[in-house]
C-alpha cells in the first residue's frame, strides 16, 4: 500500500482511483499492515460477527437482571409487546430494537459480546447488521463486507477521537457506533461510496454533544436504552443517504467537530458520574441503596 488511509477523503479517493469498494481496499490494507492475508482478516471479522449473533441469540432468551438489579428484562418486555401487537414500522424495526436490547442486556449480565466499538455501545452495529440481513436475506460474505466497512469508519474516526466516554463523551461511543451502523447498512443495501460516507456524516452530525452520565457509574442507565434508539437512528441516516440526501458538512469536518466538542465537554459529563442523569435525585437514591 503506497499511502496510509487516515481520513475519509483519502479512503474515498483510493476507492475511486482503483474502482473498488471500501471493504476491498481495506481488507487488503489491513492484511499488509498486519503482515497477513486478506482471508485471515476476514476470518477475524467473522469471529466478531459470530459473537454478535451468539449474543443476540442468548439475549433473546434471558431476562436475568444485571448485578445491580437495575436492568435486564426490557428485551423480554419488548418481545411480548410485539407478539401481541406488531411495531408500526414493521418486522425490520421489531428485529432491530429487540436485537439491540438482547445484545446490550447480555453485556450487562456479564454475557459474551463483541465490543463494537465499546462494550456500552455493543448492540448498535449488530442489531442493524443482523436484523436487516435476516430480513433482506443478505449472505454471510456480504455481512462480513459490511462489518469491515463499519470497522473502517470507526478506525478512521478513532485516529482523531478516542472512542471512550471518559475522553469524549457518549458521542464517541454510541454516537460513533450509530455512524458505523449507518455506513455499514448503506453499503449492504448497495449504496455508492459517497452515499455510505453521507450516511456516516448524517448520523454523526445528529449526535454531536451526546454526554456520558451513567447512573451509579454503571454501564446501564442510560446506556441500555440508548442502544435501540441509536440503532434506529442509523437506519434513518441510511434511508436519507440512499435517497441522495447529502451532508452539507463533509464527513472529515464533522469528525473535527466531534473532536472539538469532546474537548469542550465538561469532565463532569464524561463518564465520571458527577452531573447529568447521574446526579438526579433518583439516581443518587439508587446509588445510596446500591453502595450501602
Amino acid at each position: 500500500m503506497d499511502k496510509s488511509i487516515n481520513t475519509f477523503k483519502e479512503l474515498e479517493d483510493i476507492c475511486k482511483k482503483n474502482n473498488k469498494q471500501i471493504y476491498e481496499v481495506i481488507q487488503k490494507y489491513e492484511a499488509e499492515l498486519a503482515e497477513t492475508t486478506e482471508k485471515d482478516i476476514r476470518l477475524l471479522v467473522k469471529k466478531s460477527l459470530d459473537a454478535m449473533k451468539e449474543s443476540i441469540k442468548n439475549g433473546l432468551q434471558s431476562k436475568e437482571m444485571s448485578i445491580s438489579g437495575m436492568c435486564g428484562d426490557d428485551c423480554d418486555r419488548l418481545q411480548k409487546k410485539y407478539q401481541k401487537e406488531g411495531a408500526i414500522f414493521g418486522k425490520t424495526f421489531e428485529k432491530i430494537t429487540t436485537y439491540a436490547l438482547a445484545t446490550i442486556e447480555e453485556n450487562l449480565r456479564m454475557g459474551k459480546i463483541a465490543a463494537c466499538p465499546t462494550a456500552g455501545s455493543c448492540a448498535i452495529v449488530p442489531s442493524v447488521l443482523v436484523g436487516v440481513s435476516e430480513d433482506l436475506d443478505i449472505q454471510e460474505e456480504d455481512q462480513i463486507n459490511a462489518l469491515i466497512t463499519a470497522g473502517t469508519i470507526g478506525r478512521i474516526i478513532s485516529n482523531k477521537v478516542a472512542l471512550a466516554g471518559a475522553v469524549a463523551g457518549c458521542q464517541a461511543e454510541c454516537g460513533v457506533a450509530s455512524a458505523m451502523a449507518a455506513g455499514a447498512l448503506t453499503q449492504m443495501r448497495g449504496g455508492s461510496i459517497p452515499q455510505i460516507l453521507n450516511a456516516v456524516a448524517l448520523a454523526m452530525k445528529n449526535l454531536l454533544g451526546l454526554t456520558c452520565d451513567p447512573v451509579c457509574g454503571l454501564v446501564e442507565i442510560p446506556c441500555v436504552k440508548r442502544n435501540p434508539f441509536l440503532a434506529i437512528h442509523a437506519v434513518t441516516a441510511s434511508e436519507l443517504a440512499l435517497a441522495g440526501v447529502e451532508s452539507k458538512i463533509p464527513l472529515d469536518e464533522v469528525i473535527d467537530a466531534l473532536e472539538q466538542t469532546g474537548k469542550l465537554m465538561s469532565p463532569m459529563l464524561k463518564e465520571s458520574s458527577q452531573a447529568g442523569l447521574a446526579t438526579t435525585k433518583t439516581a443518587l437514591n439508587l446509588k445510596e441503596k446500591l453502595f450501602k
Binding site: 496510509s4 481495506i26 489491513e30 499492515l33 498486519a34 482478516i41 477475524l44 471479522v45 469471529k47 466478531s48 459473537a51 444485571s66 448485578i67 445491580s68 447480555e106 453485556n107 450487562l108 449480565r109 456479564m110 454475557g111 459474551k112 459480546i113 463483541a114 465490543a115 463494537c116 466499538p117 465499546t118 462494550a119 456500552g120 455493543c122 452495529v125 462489518l147 469491515i148 463499519a150 470497522g151 473502517t152 470507526g154 478506525r155 478513532s158 485516529n159 478516542a162 472512542l163 471512550a164 471518559a166 475522553v167 458505523m180 451509579c216 457509574g217 454503571l218 454501564v219 446501564e220 446500591l290 453502595f291
Partner: protein, 219 residues
C-alpha cells in the same frame, strides 16, 4: 505509533459489561498469574477508587479472580466464578479502598504461598492494562509483548550479560533497584519469542534470583 486495526474497533469478544472494569480486570489477573507463576495458598485483591466504587456492579472482582485462575476475557464461566469449583483452588479476599494518589482503576494483587509477591497495576481504558510494580520494584508490563522479567543482584555487567544471551530484538527495557549492590529488576519487552534454552542459560548467570518469561496476552 502502531496503527489501530479495524479488528480492534469491532472486537474484542469479551464478557461484559465494561472494557475497563471487566475485560481490563481479567487481563490484570491473567498477567499477574503469569508473573507469579506458582500455585498460591491465598490471593488478596485490593481495589482502589473507581475499581472499588463501581467494581462490584461491573464484575471487577469476578474478573480479577478469573484472570488469576487463567480464564480469558471471553470465558462465560466468569459470571459464576465465585460458585465454580475452579475458585476452590486457593483462598481469596477482596478489599475496597480509596487512595487518590493511585490511578482511578488501580489494584494490588497479593499472592501468598511458597513465595509471597505483591503485583500492582492499573486498567487504563479500552481493556488496556499496565502492571506498574512487582513487590517494591517498578516495572512496565502491558501484556502486549513477550517479556522477560529478572530479579537479580545489582552487580556490574549484568545487563550486558543478559542482553547478550537473548538474540531477539528488544522493544523496550526497564530496570529498577532498591539500592546500589542490592536486589534489582530488569523488564525486557521482546519483539519475538525466546525458547526454554535461553531461559535455562539465563539461570546460569551468577546472582540471578528469579526469571519469568511472560507471554503476551491474547488481544
Amino acid at each position: 505509533m502502531k496503527q489501530t486495526s479495524i479488528i480492534d474497533i469491532i472486537s474484542p469478544v469479551m464478557v461484559g459489561p465494561s472494557s475497563s472494569h471487566t475485560a481490563g480486570a481479567i487481563r490484570l489477573g491473567l498477567l499477574a498469574r503469569n508473573i507469579y507463576n506458582e500455585m498460591p495458598d491465598k490471593v488478596t485483591f485490593k481495589l482502589y477508587n473507581s475499581f472499588a466504587q463501581t467494581g462490584k456492579g461491573h464484575g471487577t472482582d469476578k474478573g480479577l479472580l478469573s484472570g488469576v485462575l487463567g480464564l480469558n476475557v471471553d470465558d462465560t464461566r466468569i459470571k459464576d466464578i465465585f460458585n465454580s469449583d475452579l475458585a476452590k483452588e486457593f483462598e481469596y479476599e477482596f478489599q475496597y479502598l480509596e487512595d487518590f494518589n493511585r490511578h482511578p482503576n488501580a489494584v494490588d494483587i497479593i499472592f501468598e504461598g511458597h513465595r509471597n509477591m505483591k503485583i500492582s497495576g492499573n486498567s487504563v481504558g479500552a481493556g488496556e492494562i499496565e502492571i506498574t510494580n512487582i513487590d517494591e520494584f517498578s516495572v512496565s508490563l502491558t501484556g502486549k509483548y513477550n517479556t522477560l522479567l529478572l530479579i537479580y543482584k545489582d552487580v556490574p555487567n549484568m545487563i550486558s550479560r543478559v542482553t547478550n544471551s537473548i538474540h531477539v530484538n528488544i522493544a523496550s527495557f526497564h530496570c529498577d533497584r532498591y539500592a546500589k549492590g542490592e536486589e534489582a529488576s530488569m523488564c525486557i519487552c521482546l519483539d519475538g519469542e525466546v525458547n526454554q534454552k535461553v531461559i535455562d542459560f539465563l539461570y546460569l548467570i551468577e546472582d540471578v534470583y528469579m526469571i519469568r518469561y511472560i507471554k503476551k496476552l491474547e488481544s
